[in-house]
Amino acid sequence: MANLQIQELIKKYDKVTAIEGLNLSIADGELVVILGRPGAGKTTTLKVVAGIEPVSAGKIYFEDEDITHTPPEERDVAMVFETYALYPHLSVFDNITLSFKAPVRRIKLGEEEIQKRVTPITEMLEITEFLDRKPRELSGGQRQRVALARALVRDPRLVLLDEPIAHLDARLRHGLRPDLRNYLKDRGFTTLYATTDYIEAFGLADRVVILNEGCVLQIGTRDKILGTPANEKVGQLIGIPPMNVIQDAKPIVEAGRMALEANGFQIKIGKDQYQMIEKKGLAAVDIGVYPSDIELIEADNTSKPTVNGEVYVYEPLGMKGALSVKVGNEILKVQISARIQRAGAGDPVKLYIDEKRIHIFDAQDGSNILMS
């Protein structure tokens, strides 16, 4: 059953189009995460669904009811926005439980019932000890958790979360993820969640929506998106560092070997990949390869087809490092183990790029050649 349905949604601010023809259908109890850069249209999407921004065109249905023009207070939506508006004169507890006391509330709850609802959420978010404090006595990260608790403590039909844990310190941000997911799933909330962080998106979501400049690039499960990114821009949102994109490579056949000729070097490809490019009539393609899918070959002799490059720069990143290698006229990032012997700028290195680990995109529009 599709619980929330967004059809051909368009949102314009003056001349700027923030969302261009968004179609999205979310099942009852499903957790969908919108992943995109700042300015991609994530917040706008949530605001339109919440009803605090009118649509320019398109329809929104909730439980088969057209809510496109329903005022926000009648939509029974819980929201957490990045700017969490807490009431400064109320305690944390009163901020969280305010909605139970509001006159428009459909069901009034007794003290005991309220407490029963508040405890699990405040414990999960580790704010139980702050319940008597005022918002101004809290740090930014603590306030953000209070705002999240306030939204989740109700029993809303739809939950909209806009980067709700972005400002928490790393320990809490990572530690909280599975608990937050379980909380939302166990209560059967239908949730739309926005983030710029790919780990958060893939860690939390049933399905991920990749939004770029107001357009949906891909909607799918984690495995689907990681396995077959629909567009090179999808790959560039994923990974630390993100996917390398080598632009404008030409398919060639040399002595029966098929390869993609990029700017100053070649990457071997398989027959099926070559045929696919040929079938699509593409003169040039872009090659996408994740830094973790490029192998640094240290042995002098190898049977693997390697490309030669030189070290551009090395950046240690903790448990791993990013080695930038200049190959032809491209700079490729390669993920290496941090405990590897460090190479200096200008040192020659050999890389192996497995043909099965590359993604091939139409050089014109960036779409994956495996997607029609």
Binding site: G203, P316, A338
Partner: protein
Amino acid sequence: MEKLRLENVWKYYRGKEIQAVKDLNLVCEDGECLAFLGPSGCGKTSTLRMIAGLESISEGSIYIGGKRVNDFPPQRRNVAMAFEDYALYPPLTVFENIAFPLQAKALPSKKIKTRVQRVAEVLRIADILDKTPSELSGGQQQRISLARALVKEDVELVLMDEPISHLDTTLKNEIRTEIKRFHVELGNTIVYVTHDQLEAMALGDKIAVMNLGVLQQLGTPEELYDRPTNLFVAGFIGEPPMNFINSTVFSENEKLYLQSSCFRLPLSPQQAKPLKENDIGELVIGIRPGDFEPSRIDAPDFLSFSGDVYAVEPVGDITVTYLSAGEERLLMTVLGTVDLKEGENLVLSFSTEHIHIFDKSSGRAIN
């Protein structure tokens, strides 16, 4: 050769009520990139502004190129600056904005052009040199401000305050690499302020970790990652962050063990020595998420124990796994993908050489 020296530097605000920087001492060598890293309010920006001459030094001395600069106005300190809020000249074109510091030095115009072109190409703004700042996005303006700081080659120091924190991830990654390459190639001395540990690790030859106005540790990225001096540094460097496991010391047949709710860890004589010398009750064992192996390893120096997997997140380049073991909840990261199921009981291992031991009450590392 030393380029920058801070000696007993303090920064007060409101009389002495707020102490933003407390007795800071450090040296940055010629050609080094020194990154100041810490959460907001740690004193990193105050420090940078004192080096730049934008804030007075409440107490202590700052030396640049061997000269005490406390009484020098900013322009006499011969530093280039790129800040989070990029002050560009609105009526000038991008080219003119970047060339401005060079023109002020009356360099020949051909030389100016070559230098501006080069830095503009590196920062990917070569195609917008004719535009004016008002026509550009925030990210582009940020890069112009960065270009203007990097274009000057004969300055003592380049000072940067969160210059790429507003950029989107892809661009941030690219520009970070280019700043580093620029630094490696030109050998300029950079003082860089950031709250992002990944940025500090990637760029800094040395990192000064600060918290509440106090320098916590100064070291190379590897030193901070492998040998943090206290719980703050251990928790701030590395993401996902280091696991902290509560434990106590326990002795049996002259041998020392660390007892936690997850495992009992025999200590090497070397690890045991400082514990015997100091009477420490409660300890914290630190293990990085990447230092766990998702299998039993029967080797000396390895310890295996079991935990229940309660969440697995294969997010592409890494797999993040959450386990509960004893009273602890632990995070394990494995490069690539690993076949684990939620609810399964897993035997995992770690090298006892890769653990960190801290005194719980003082937070200090014991070694």
